[in-house]
């Protein structure tokens, strides 16, 4: 047990090539998925907050429900869409990092939208009369509100990163866990553990947790700084 831990730390200390590749790919895929997901999820959440139309409540419930979407389900759906006989088969994306980005985006967009909506809605309730008198369009209002809530919305982005980095099912299915091509931290941990190569699995687990903790610490400090600056 202790030996395994030391072996894991030795891998970390020596910047083991395999390990570094896996961590780097993980970060690239998940951060890309979150950035693209935020470009859709933030406006979607803000739009749900300020829009008035029949069926809005239904859509809100739907988006909230999709927050808990099982990642294997997303994996299967994206797999079917990207497989050779699927509608997007000709793109040749299956078993590539691109496929993993798409799958993670589908997990992250509803999460970010669902967390954004109530935050922006509170601000909208407070500011709507003034924005209306000033002649703001819905789009301008959404933009202003997202900007004004930016520090609270960090939490939504953080949740998105957490979800994207930690899920296994979807990337396993659409990426195929191919060594040096689509092997990310979670799929590598699952594989190495089942093979009995515990040091690599533990080393990856340590990195995964460190990354998540570091992001949370950064967000915490940004929020505290914002509190002080904007009261």
């Amino acid at each position: 047990m202790i030996d395994t831990l030391f072996a894991a730390l030795r891998l970390l200390g020596s910047f083991d090539r395999t390990l570094v590749d896996i961590v780097w790919l993980s970060l690239r895929v998940s951060l890309t998925a979150v950035v693209l997901g935020a470009l859709i999820g933030l406006p979607l959440g803000a739009w749900l907050a300020v829009a008035e139309f029949r069926g809005r409540n239904l859509l809100v419930v739907l988006v909230n429900g999709l927050m808990g979407l099982p990642s294997v389900v997303v994996g299967v759906v994206v797999y079917l869409a990207l497989s050779r006989s699927g509608p997007f088969g000709s793109l040749g994306l299956l078993f590539s990092p691109g496929a993993m980005v798409i799958a993670q985006m589908m997990l992250v967009v509803p999460l970010i939208a669902a967390l954004t909506r109530p935050i922006v809605e509170d601000a909208w309730r407070e500011y709507a009369p003034e924005l209306r008198v000033m002649g703001f369009s819905r789009g301008q209002s959404m933009q202003t509100l997202i900007h004004d809530c930016r520090h609270s919305l960090l939490v939504a982005l953080l949740a998105g990163i957490g979800r994207a980095m930690s899920e296994v099912g979807a990337v396993m299915i659409v990426g195929g866990n191919i060594d040096h091509v689509t092997r990310v931290m979670t799929t590598a941990i699952a594989l190495e553990t089942s093979k009995g190569d515990l040091p690599l699995a533990i080393a990856l687990g340590i990195v995964l947790m460190a990354v998540v903790l570091a992001l949370n610490a950064a967000a915490f400090h940004i929020r505290r700084w914002a509190m002080r600056r904007y009261a």
Partner: protein, 239 residues
Amino acid sequence: MFPIELAGVGFRPDGQCVLSGIDLQLDGDGISILLGPNGVGKTVLLRMIAGLQPVSEGRLTWGAASRPDEAVAMVFQQPMILRASVLDNAALGMKPLAFGRRERRRRAHEMLERVGLADRAADSARLLSGGERQRLALARAWAVQPRLLLLDEPTASLDPSAVDAVEDIIRGIRTDGCKVLMTTHNLGQATRLADDVIFLADGRVQEHAPARQFFARPRSNAARRFIQAELPWRIRFDE
């Protein structure tokens, strides 16, 4: 947009009667002050004139138009202060207008100078005091060069010197040719600022008169009682 005319306007939320049969005509210059006891419907009336509150009873017209145009600005009792700099807050109202970014900032700066906040331009607006927030909100409204400015108790809970500063700004805005319609519970302020007074009680306009006439010789008993009760000293009217 002028004259703004209200004919038989009423407001009855869930059966209770707040406003009924409001007839009022507002011309495009001077400062009109809405007076009346708490809950009489002053804020509701301002919101209607701003186009925020649908008029379900009676008729409200802005000149020939059936809705207010973009030359209306309103400052709420608790103005919206965004988590941004004072300058950005002052420039906010120009966002929907056809100004370039540089022009917006230039004008916002000019307005901050007029309200005495130019040295705070780069500060976070959320750190401003209540009086400074009111001045910022007035700068924001002024920057869009409105033809009609609606103010809901712009000096509630301000200290005397802040009240003085805000009143100076309001006079400046009128001098620029903007019509001001405001509410206040400060009768001293009403005597200092008002060109005409609109007195609401029991859901109706009891009196709409030039300020001098209203304070010297209020016609209705309700107005007399109101003035007597709100002044810190007792006065007796002739007649």
